[in-house]
């Protein structure tokens, strides 16, 4: 293998002066898609997961279950195409939305279904007595979720949740299919232009690893700091995964 890393100093002949500047811009798009979709996924995931555990609200439970099953049973790439090609054909005003917005919605909703499943199981894993105790103390349903159920469930599901957060960075690679110039599109395009596929793929792989690992390390720190002495699962020392 003859390495030629200087390929990143060449001029691609467009808005970027060199390939490495384009690479950084592509990394920026990957991070933007991932972080926005993650924010949407966490918000929707927690809301839907909570709805599915509401006592005496069969309508909301059904809605939450329907949401989860709809978004987690369709392949992600297919969902992207549905958002991009099919839904705008049915609802013309959506044609105005950029590929970026649509991919954030698609990736966010897809991941929200997976997170809602974790929130649901986290809340269900708590002893029933927790909810009853909260209500017996005079808390409203909302207060029982805010002060008792969610804080405990959050700590239980943190490890799989971190997995999901890292997964969203990797799943963001589907955005290339709807014209977002992120890392995967950079790799597909630039290896063709420069004929240096190995160097290009290695650089892109490195940036994906750095991005996902940064989330992992940040969340390991969060996990250590939200630990409640005596409440962690037996055998779990906290920190790593």
């Amino acid at each position: 293998m003859n390495w030629d890393w200087e390929v990143f100093l060449q001029d691609p002949g467009g808005q970027h002066a060199t390939y490495w500047q384009w690479l950084l811009s592509a990394w920026g798009w990957t991070l933007s898609v991932s972080l926005l979709a993650l924010a949407l996924a966490l918000l929707m995931g927690f809301v839907i997961g909570m709805l599915r555990t509401l006592p005496d609200r069969p309508g909301w439970v059904l809605f939450g279950t329907g949401w989860t099953e709809l978004f987690r049973n369709i392949p992600l790439l297919l969902q992207i195409f549905l958002w991009y090609h099919v839904i705008p054909a049915l609802i013309p005003p959506l044609k105005e939305l950029s590929g970026f917005t649509l991919v954030v919605l698609a990736l966010g909703f897809f991941t929200s279904a997976r997170i809602s499943e974790q929130v649901y199981s986290g809340i269900k894993a708590l002893p029933k007595g927790q909810r009853y105790a909260a209500l017996a103390m005079g808390m409203t349903t909302a207060q029982s979720y805010r002060y008792v159920l969610l804080p405990c469930a959050f700590r239980i599901i943190l490890p799989p949740l971190v997995n999901e957060m890292m997964g969203i960075v990797k799943n963001s690679s589907v955005a290339f299919a709807v014209s977002v110039s992120e890392l995967t599109m950079f790799a597909l395009q630039v290896q063709e232009e420069t004929a240096r596929g190995v160097e290009v793929y290695l650089a892109v792989t490195g940036l994906y690893i750095v991005s996902a690992l940064a989330i992992n390390r940040l969340m390991a720190w969060v996990e250590r700091h939200v630990q409640i002495p005596g409440l962690q699962l037996s055998g779990a020392a906290g920190g790593g995964h």
Binding site: N2, G14, S179, Q191
Partner: protein, 300 residues
């Protein structure tokens, strides 16, 4: 630690050296009585019909070349193995000896000439613009500020980008993940134009629901010589291949193949691409050469 790095550097050097060795392809073909042809799964000039069957314009050109190689070596039997290649792996597979003759649709350019050799140009591709027939767009100048579709992983993306910088025009590029996807962008109105190789545009329009609804502008954005690829530094093998191509040009077999593939209905859907022999291709056949795409750009 430092010592380890030295060993690593040494190991890399050792690994890189076998690629520098030239190989005698003719001797290898003669000894094994077999040749490995690189084919494409789905490309304009070489594609599969399923069940390990391949076909296409370049596939047929190569079949003639292989017959000539067989005659040149005086072999009674020559077994042809088909190795499907992609645009990512075709160059490494030719370099490492897996593929002897790559008959896909590879653009001959200077960057690739560092790694491989190209036979005489058999097909010259012109990058063009497809628009809706009723759009009123007649030139690339009409496309300023408009959405232009093209396919990720193709040289057309680069062509468009360079045009943008040179002419100071601002396009909004939309990238399809494959040609069918890019064409859908044009068809659904998400894009006002589709910039791509002329043959691909013609094929997609021919296969569409309403072929009359689209037109290809005559303006040529870039010219790319497409050639059969072989190993570098093997002049004896290149001469046999080039002589075969020259003979095919001379006795009209190449022109007949053009007619078969671009003007007659072709499998699997029996649609006619309808692409007359271009001036650029005629020129390349009249003066057989293996010039890279950069020479074509300079001439324009």
């Amino acid at each position: 630690m430092k010592k380890h790095l030295h060993y690593l550097a040494l190991a890399m050097l050792t690994v890189s050296s076998p690629f520098a060795l030239a190989e005698d392809t003719l001797a290898k073909i003669k000894a094994s009585a077999s040749l490995t042809e690189g084919v494409r799964e789905s490309s304009g000039l070489s594609y599969t019909l399923g069940n390990g069957q391949y076909t296409g314009f370049h596939y047929d050109v190569c079949a003639n070349i292989i017959a000539d190689v067989k005659a040149h070596l005086g072999l009674a039997e020559l077994k042809v193995n088909y190795q499907p290649v992609t645009s990512q792996n075709r160059i490494p597979l030719v370099q490492n000896g897996t593929v002897d003759l790559e008959c896909g649709s590879t653009t001959n350019n200077i960057a690739r000439q560092k790694d491989v050799a190209f036979a005489l140009t058999t097909y010259v591709e012109e990058v063009k613009i497809a628009v809706k027939a009723d759009s009123g767009i007649t030139s690339i100048k009409d496309l300023a500020g408009k959405n232009i579709a093209t396919t990720t992983g193709t040289t057309s993306v680069q062509t468009l980008r360079k045009h943008e910088r040179a002419a100071g025009i601002d396009f909004k590029e939309v990238f399809g993940k494959d040609h069918a996807d890019s064409f859908l962008l044009l068809e659904s109105g998400r894009a006002d134009a589709f910039v791509m190789d002329g043959s691909i545009l013609a094929a997609n329009i021919a296969k569409s629901k309403t072929p009359a609804g689209f037109k290809i502008l005559s303006e040529v954005l870039a010219v790319e010589p497409i050639a059969i690829m072989l190993r570098k530094e093997d002049p004896a093998f290149k001469k046999v291949v080039d002589d075969s191509i020259k003979a095919q040009i001379k006795d009209g077999r190449l022109a007949k193949l053009w007619d078969k593939w671009f003007l007659q209905p072709i499998p699997p859907a029996n649609v006619t691409i309808g692409l007359p022999l271009s001036e650029a291709t005629k020129e390349a056949w009249a003066n057989p050469n293996d010039k890279p795409t950069e020479d074509y750009a300079a001439k324009k």
